[in-house]
């Protein structure tokens, strides 16, 4: 208001002298214009707030839908495992028993960098396992969300059924999901083509929950404080400067 009246004063001073009648009309016109501008601005602000609210609200709805929808099959894993029992405090091991080298990976199914790691380097590790020279230890740490723990439990259930590796890969590929029991059972259907009765009850009753907790505790005891963490033959492996090429060289496979 004060700005406007100042501006009007300025205008009055600056304007060329003119008959009082037209000057008053001019002032009235200026005032009306200023009023209109003020109204326009208010309309603009309200419109912008409404549009922003709609964008954010729509985004939240979209994200909610993305998190709660069903999983998709994904690319699948080239490595096919066979049923194995999980053992308390012990990681899940993929690969031949006699493989001379071991790569150990600590990852949470909801940790952003673990998801990137799996996408970038997972296929290389699959290849290395297939050479018979490498075993992979999977330590599914679960500390981020309830979904992380559900997923770790389901991963163990899938491993006992014999489709653990493909299931693990698919968990990472669908990491946008919150991981409730329904989604985890659905994922088995996508990966395995059918859902074994024992798998569904294993997921619904969190039958491997204690195992998942033991993995958390053992990992911490081993000095693993964050995910992803990688060790090669027991030695810490630096992820900071890692590329596909450098990991391929370590594993002795084509990048």
């Amino acid at each position: 208001m004060s700005k406007k009246s100042q501006a009007n004063k300025k205008l009055k001073k600056a304007g060329a002298p003119s008959p009082t009648g037209s000057n008053a009309r001019e002032r009235a016109r200026q005032q009306a214009q200023a009023e209109k501008r003020k109204k326009d601005r208010m309309t603009l602000i309200i419109a912008a707030v409404v549009v922003v609210a709609l964008v954010v609200g729509g985004g939240v709805l979209f994200s909610w839908f993305q998190s709660t929808r069903g999983p998709s099959a994904g690319e699948g894993s080239s490595y096919q495992d066979s049923p194995q029992q999980v053992v308390m405090n012990q990681p899940i091991v993929f690969g031949e028993d006699g493989a001379p080298n071991t790569i150990s990976v600590w990852a949470d199914f909801h940790c952003p960098h673990c998801i990137d790691f799996e996408e970038e380097y997972g296929p290389l590790i699959d290849k290395a396992i297939e050479t018979g020279q490498w075993k992979m230890e999977a330590w599914p740490m679960a500390f981020l969300t309830a979904g992380s723990a559900n997923a770790a439990n389901a991963f163990a259930c899938a491993t006992e059924e014999g489709f653990g590796k493909a299931y693990q890969k698919a968990l990472f590929e669908n990491s946008n999901l919150e991981w409730n029991s329904e989604q985890l059972v659905d994922l088995a259907d996508q990966v395995n083509g059918s859902v074994p009765e024992t798998f569904a009850s294993c997921v619904q009753n969190l039958e491997q929950g204690q195992w998942a907790e033991s993995i958390n505790q053992t990992s911490r005891a081993m000095g693993v404080s964050g995910t992803p963490t990688v060790r090669v033959n027991g030695e810490p492996y630096d992820l900071a400067g890692m590329t596909k090429e450098s990991l391929a060289e370590t594993l002795g496979v084509e990048p």
């Binding site: 300025k10 602000i45 985004g59 939240v60 979209f62 940790c111 960098h113 964050g226 995910t227």
Partner: protein
């Protein structure tokens, strides 16, 4: 003589008044790019985004953490679009500055509590190894962004902006004076 000085003097076409709308244009577009990139990198991964929020371990209910994780990237995109168009530049700059101050406070708080997390500023987020944190560079960067927003709060008038009508009444009046 006096009449001419009266009409041309008020703003005075100094170097600064000439350069300011261009500087503000650069600041506006830079801040727009920052919000758009940061939002677009995150909208595709809502679950990761929630994870990044949860990593701060703030005393927030889980529902609110989800709302922030899901909504914030879209809010950033909206701010970016407003700045790109130059629509309501000053209010958008004020909101941008407030948001950046919140981010800065969040990072300082995570650092002070000894958390080892990625700030999740441009996607990513979550726990990282202690030697992989980058709190100081993140803070310096965010303070730089806040300075851009601060400039726009002080000098919202910029070239190629839709704010020509309505936003800056003083300047509109000056234009009429020059006619």
């Amino acid at each position: 003589m006096t009449a001419t000085t009266a009409t041309t003097a008020p703003p005075g076409p100094t170097t600064f008044t000439k350069a300011q709308p261009w500087i503000s244009l650069v600041a506006r577009l830079a801040l727009a790019a920052i919000w758009l990139v940061s939002g677009l990198l995150k909208v595709g991964s809502p679950q990761q985004s929630v994870m990044a929020v949860q990593a701060y371990e703030l005393p927030l209910p889980s529902g609110l953490e989800h709302l922030i994780g899901w909504g914030l990237p879209w809010f950033e995109i909206a701010l970016g679009l407003l700045l790109l168009a130059g629509l309501l530049t000053r209010p958008t700059a004020i909101v941008s500055a407030l948001l950046l101050v919140l981010f800065i406070a969040g990072i300082i708080s995570a650092w002070a509590r000894g958390l080892t997390i990625d700030c999740g500023c441009f996607g990513g987020g979550g726990q990282v190894a202690p030697d992989e944190t980058s709190y100081l560079p993140d803070l310096v960067r965010d303070v730089g962004f806040a300075l851009l927003a601060g400039w726009l709060i002080l000098f919202p008038r910029s070239k190629f902006s839709l704010d020509r009508f309505g936003e800056d009444e003083e300047f509109v009046v000056h234009d009429e004076e020059n006619e």
